[in-house]
Amino acid sequence: RGAGEAPDQYRTTYATEVKTLNYFLLLDTTALRVAANTMDGLVENDRYGKFVPSLAERWDHNEDYTEWTFYLRPGVKWVDSMGQETAWEVTADDFVEGMRFIAEPKNGIKNVGIIRKVISGLNGYYWDLVDIDDGVDIGKTREEALASFDSSVGVSAPDKYTVKYTLDNPTPYFLSYLVTELFFPLEKEFLDSVGAEDFGTTKEKLIFTGAYYLAEWQRDKEIRLAKNEHYWDADSVNVGQVSLQKVADDSIRVQMFQRGEVSATTLQGDQVKALEGTKWADNVFLDEKSSVTYWFAMNYTSDNPEARAFINNVNFRKALYHGIDRAKLLELVNPYEPEALLRNTIIPEDVIFDENGQDYTDYPLLKEVKERRTYDRELAQEYFQKAVDELTDGKGNIKGISPATVDMLPIAEIKADGKLPVQILFVHPTDPTKTREALLLQEMLRDTFDGQVELVLGQYVDDKYNDTIKPRRFDLLYDSFSFKYADPMAQLGRLVTDGSVNDGQYSFPEFDRLVEEADGKTSLTDRYEIFSRAERFLIDNAVIIPWQAGGGAYSMDTVVPFSTPRGGFGVTRFKYKGMILQQNPITADQYKMLEKAFRAELAPN
């Protein structure tokens, strides 16, 4: 522990303003943080990652995991933005209302797709409404369709304190869904009083069930959370206030930490290096990795004919797979042990376990992948040569491609000459580290493939999806998606043909088939086995190239490590419940010590 009284305020920064704090519409980490701390769901994770009671005191499920019943903690009141208890109690109806809200297409809840096929009847209900809105005659009026919610959707409130979910398929991992915002409650009377349009647009237009309430939301300046004194578990809340300051110019964040203006900061590689030999060096420690995976996505339908030809060639993709020295790229973030950040699989390790406690990524097909070192210069060159042999006429002319100017403006304009070197448009954001990453990658490919692969760099200014993915103005980019629930389907199911994170618009029927097959299995071992084949297919064919794990950054912090809830899903990792602050920044030694102690505590669980 550092000297002096433990501070009562946790202070951090954010760079872009949240658009809304409607907790069903979480778009960025800032909003996630607010939702995670102001809203409790039925269950939560404790600091060991175990699912523990929250608004539900206890729960049970039927034999095949298709019916789950939750028994609510009575007497919990919704709290308003003044920290005062409202007249409304948290009841089972609130959970039904929450579901009703996200099931309404007009509310535009993006993530609803994750559970549409989980809760029975939800999918049909949702698409009925969509069809009606599109003017398709399905033999029902909208009112009729809405009225059918209670009878058709698998959520109900048998009594005031009981919530029951009926699922389409056996779902042993159902609890991992419950820590996402999709299962948060919603007070109907309050919603009606503010209107669905405006729900969550100001602090007055929200009420809370969590450890904190939203005490202040000043756009572009500050979001302040204050401890909810009426919280059912108020004793576990150690920090009285959480302040999120907007600091758009993040070049000064490290400074602000050093001057005690923020409670925590992450560090880039060269920032860490620059701290070498200063008094701050002691305070730098490596954070835990998260379940987020970054991967390289390739555009299989690019307008750039050169890139399209090569990307659709498996040998070329393999050449990239082996030719990109990912650890080298990560040196920008972590100059000392970059390998630690690598992730070779799409599904994260340490998150999904089968009935036997076997980690999904330790299934044989994946274990090999997980442990391999992918960077292999010679192999990459070999594959590249094969690709060149297949795709060119031997004189450097790419077959079937005539010179053209490819308009991918405003990202870039490419003069495709139909000759080697092959030009590939790599798109990255404008921030300095990412730009350097891109330059490094460019140099790396140039070096590995002897100048025959030329990365054209393009930047999107603000919005990756709108600027590049949607208009398909890229050949290569990295993308990442958080892991939504404890099943490989969470990612692999979105990577199929026309899947929502299939940025490259590829189509591999073999993969689609495997995913479908796996999803049909109810036995976890079977299920995971087939998923591992599907994942292996993606990796063997280098359809996408897994790159790195999220998190794991160098940090300086005043939060006592391992004092906050732990877990790979939903909003858990953003929770401050249980957080303990100390006066002075954590030292690396402290961190190591606490980590050791924590691992020891964790083991028996």
Binding site: T20, R219, D249, D463
Partner: protein
């Protein structure tokens, strides 16, 4: 006189309308995805999107859209933001942000004028001596070096030395100092250099020589003739600058995290929030035009030579 004012107001309105139309046309060069929030866009089918656009009226002819926009503005309805603060009425956004920019602007304007005039007087009084050279060096530095650099250095160094917070906190008055001072730097230089120039010009005027030959003391002449007359041409620019303080300053608000208007337009443009862009441009144009107009009126008020009837446009772009 009143006829002239009416004429000028009409003319100013015309300018505003042209500016707005120009920007409106520019905005039409941008993709229509600006009318969706990102999530909507992803979730909607192509048909839904076009239906939505239609419901917004974006697909209508430009003329109709403009008409609608102006009608809305006329009725006091500025519309709602689309992507920057989805669905928030633009009026609310302005109400939140304008006060910051305005107060910082006013404070810095006050400082710019007082210190700038001080500097100008000092430089004119000690023309070609060291205060003048020092002042010139200051002006040159401020004008020639990209402001981003020195503003950033000021932030880093001064907060470090003074142990002040690096960004602005509303409840901590010391954090107001640097933004206000930073905002004033160019203004001080501007007023200083122009006042100096005008004063030096005035000092060489025949009537100043005559005033001296009348036996008026140097001090009296400086105060009652030179300074007074030198200030007059600057008076014209005060209203524009005052009004434009509402627009805020991008760099300073950004580095000190002030929730003002400065970055709003950039952000709105980047996010393709066309509604917001349009309103902001309208506001800026109105402020600019109104500022010039009030400046001219003020000028006619302080300078007896200018009768409003002769629309004597002395609107030179002052450049240091």
């Amino acid at each position: 006189m009143s006829r002239y004012i009416v004429k000028r107001i009409l003319q100013s309105l015309l300018t505003v309308v042209i500016v707005v139309i120009a920007v409106f046309l520019l905005l039409r060069l941008m993709p229509t995805s600006g009318y969706f929030t990102r999530e909507d866009y992803i979730n909607m089918t192509e048909e839904m999107r076009s239906a939505y656009l239609k419901s917004l009226g974006v697909t209508d002819p430009a003329f109709i859209q403009l008409q609608r926009f102006f009608t809305g503005v006329f009725k006091g309805d500025l519309g709602r933001s689309i992507t920057v603060y989805p669905k928030l009425p633009i009026r609310t956004i302005l109400a939140e942000k304008v006060p910051y920019s305005l107060w910082f602007g006013l404070a810095s304007m006050f400082i710019s004028v007082t210190l700038g005039f001080g500097l100008g007087i000092l430089m004119a009084r000690f023309k070609d001596r060291w205060p003048d050279h020092l002042g010139t060096a200051y002006v040159v530095t401020v004008r020639a070096i990209p402001s981003l650099i020195y503003l950033f250095l000021i932030q880093i160094w001064v907060t470090g030395i003074m142990r002040w917070p690096m960004v602005f906190y509303e409840d901590r008055p010391v954090t107001w100092i640097l933004p206000v001072v930073s905002l004033s730097l160019t203004g001080i230089a501007w007023y200083g250099i122009w006042l100096r120039r005008f004063m030096v010009d005035e000092e060489n005027r025949d009537y100043i020589k005559f005033a001296r030959s009348k036996g008026l003391s140097q001090k009296y002449i400086m105060r009652h003739h030179v300074l007074r007359n030198a200030v007059v041409p600057l008076v014209q620019y005060l209203p524009v600058q005052l009004l434009l303080t509402i627009a805020g300053s991008l760099i300073i608000e950004s580095i000190y995290s002030i929730p003002g208007m400065g970055g709003l337009l950039v952000y709105a443009i980047k996010q393709q929030d066309n509604n917001l862009v349009q309103v902001l441009v309208l506001i800026y144009a109105v402020l600019g035009v109104a500022g010039v107009f009030v400046g001219d009126l003020l000028m006619a008020f302080v300078d007896p030579r200018i009768r409003l009837a002769e629309k004597k446009k002395k609107k030179e772009a002052l450049r240091v």
